[in-house]
Symmetry: C2
Subunit: 175 residues, 2 copies
Amino acid sequence: MSIVIREGKKEDMPAVLNLIQELATFEREPNAVVVTVDDLVRDGFSDYPLFQTFIAEYEGEIVGMALFYNRYSTWKGKTIHLEDLIVKESKRQFGIGKALYDTVLTYAVKEKVRRVEWVVLDWNTPAIDFYIKSGARILSDWETVQMSEENLAKYVKSISNEIVGLKKTQLRSNH
Amino acid sequence: MSIVIREGKKEDMPAVLNLIQELATFEREPNAVVVTVDDLVRDGFSDYPLFQTFIAEYEGEIVGMALFYNRYSTWKGKTIHLEDLIVKESKRQFGIGKALYDTVLTYAVKEKVRRVEWVVLDWNTPAIDFYIKSGARILSDWETVQMSEENLAKYVKSISNEIVGLKKTQLRSNH
């Protein structure tokens, strides 16, 4: 069997974006992807990379990827968040997804992180069953909250121009 | 009113840990905090900081904090995750929590991130109402999945010593 799992490189980002788009379609949000290949190359391969990837190749073709990054738990310390694990629909059932999953979790042990975390859609029962069987738990009492770029801009415009004790203009970036 | 919101410094980490411990107790997990002051100083103030903080001072005393870091959405790109926003129980109702919330969201706009995300316990109705009123949405079809350090070690021990195409020992850290 010619499956190879390896670290992602800049040149893989067009194939990675294709996989991201395929997953968005599967998750019933085909128009949600605004990220570009240039974004992925800049954000994943700068001096302060915002993510890392593992790539799955099957007979020389890129057929899957896992994208992850560090997070920080105020209870546990450094953790890894697995943002996406995608296998091309036509290449499922060959164990490629499990090979990527195993690789990320093995990497997490080597990095000595205190937890690995990800999210799953509540209707994706086969995935949930697989995760639980491998030792993960589902935290069903926590809800995810998101504020979009658009609503963020609206909200910040609506609040007073001077935040208590700190003018908006005094906030500076560390990056 | 003598509320000051400012960026967190190393010297603030003992007070930050006290707030973290207080929140863990409020969230009914008093023994869950394993992070130490040394962890917070190392992880938040190295060349590759894993988080940033804003601190709230009220009459010279540290009474609240917000801890956040970058994440990466494969759909949207760079985002901010607000991990914790804590105000000492005895100092609530003075608008300190909102001042911290406003500061993080203002910072997020300046950083041009495409989203801000956080989680909330499903029984914390006052918080949920406040978030929705400010323009956030609750994604109730996503479930959080976590694998603990202990179960991670168990799982990785259980899998084959050679991951398809990649020996465990070939995985190297980028950090």
